[in-house]
Amino acid sequence: MSSLSCLVCKSDFSVEEDATTGEIVECSSCGQEHEVHAVHNLITIALAPEIEETWGE
């Protein structure tokens, strides 16, 4: 478990150690989606890209 801080609401939340790069993890407090960036086994996160979800357009 990695403990991370939400980039929006600042709450702490945890991510499984085996989270893979690209995985979406939600802040357990506000639900903000973050994308996992794993660097040398150290998990960092970024806000999930706010690309428009085009869903079939």
Binding site: V8, C9, S29, G31, E33, E50, E52, G56
Partner: protein, 353 residues
């Protein structure tokens, strides 16, 4: 999911030829733990049940199960699902209570218990005294009470409205003035609606601007079960759609409440509800709640959008499933101790466009 550890329950459906009764019959035909053994219809008593259902169109049919009149229900069942027009169940309730552990009821009869409200909105219900116990139950928010006989599911537009404002009220985030604008498809009125297709189609119109029975229900629900007095304006509109409800609730944030407080409240409320999904990103109109993606499913979609003090929360559901039949099965699953999603997951869900 292995269901072998659970015992199969015997089920009766009342009002099996109606829109909601048909949905329950259809859904239960794939449910591994509920077995339908009685289906009522006054108008089709004696006729094979499977002949009546579009749902049986691509499956195997049997003539074995025939519709029966309610008065002929005299075996015992674990569960009765009651899908009768408001005012009918009370005529049979005392007798039926003897034949079932629980009655899951989608009609309006016992949703409010205040005498004044009953007199005003449910005069038919009051005509028959019910000696048993009854309970208003929303799977996402209510506790299970195994002592009651009748488990009343919420009204379809009522519950969609409740999904929009529950997190706000539970976390005390908004002023008590709420405006809810509810739009519904045509199956909401049941199979006997007289509005002609040619009139309904290619139109959008106000249905009940004031006076809809779901308004006192919502107010009563928040007051009785959640101890919140709200000042609600509730109006309903008719869509040219076969199914689906969308409700938007407009409210004003209390001083000091931020967007992130609101998002947290919604996220927490719906993070583990298997059927209500909160969409917390707002990137393009396809990430907002809509009707097309919930129609035909037991899912609900919820979104909340803040602009300064203005709070706009939206929910969409299928009136016949999450607003009625699916909701009742979900409740029955929980009452029986079955996994909540049993028989309600869709393998082909999500067809687009």
């Amino acid at each position: 999911m292995s269901t072998s550890e659970y015992g199969v329950k015997r089920v009766a459906i009342l009002g099996g030829t109606g829109f909601t009764g048909a949905e329950i019959y259809r859904l239960l035909s794939k449910h591994p733990l509920f077995k339908v053994e009685f289906v009522s219809s006054e108008s089709k008593a004696g006729s094979p049940v499977d002949k009546h259902f579009m749902a049986a169109r691509h499956g195997k049919k049997s003539n074995a199960l025939k519709f029966s009149k309610i008065a002929d229900l005299n075996s015992n069942y674990d569960i009765i699902f009651s899908c009768l027009p408001t005012g009918v169940l009370p005529q049979f309730i005392n007798q039926l209570s003897l034949h079932a552990d629980y009655i899951f009821n989608v009609s309006g009869d016992y949703r409010v218990t205040d005498l004044d409200l009953l007199q005003k909105h449910y005069p038919e219900t009051l005509k028959h005294e019910f000696v048993g116990s009854s309970y208003y139950y929303i799977p996402e928010f209510s506790e299970i009470d195994h002592q009651v006989k009748v488990v009343n599911l919420p009204g379809c537009m009522a519950v969609a409205t409740i999904y929009t404002i529950y997190p706000l009220l539970a976390h005390d985030l908004i002023e008590n003035r709420i405006v809810s604008d509810a739009k519904t498809g045509s199956s909401g009125g049941g199979k006997t609606t007289t509005e002609h297709h040619a009139e309904r189609t290619n139109n959008f119109r106000a249905h009940k601007v004031h006076g809809h029975r779901h308004k006192p229900e919502i107010e009563f629900a928040f007051k009785t079960y959640f101890q919140k007095e709200i000042d609600l304006q509730f109006s309903t509109y008719s869509l040219d759609l076969p199914r689906g409800i969308m409700v938007t609730s407009y409210s004003v944030l209390k001083e000091g409440v931020s967007e992130i407080d609101v998002k947290k409240a919604f996220y927490r409320t719906y993070s583990s509800t298997p059927f209500i999904h909160y969409f917390n990103s707002n990137t393009g109109h396809n990430s907002n709640p809509m009707i097309k993606t919930v129609a035909g499913t037991n899912y609900g979609e919820v979104g909340v959008y803040i602009d300064g003090k203005n709070c706009v929360s939206i929910a969409s559901i299928d009136n016949l499933i999450k607003g009625a039949g699916g909701q009742a099965i979900q409740a029955a699953n929980l009452y029986m101790g079955f996994p909540e999603e049993t028989g309600l997951q869709s393998e082909l869900e999500g067809a687009w466009p």
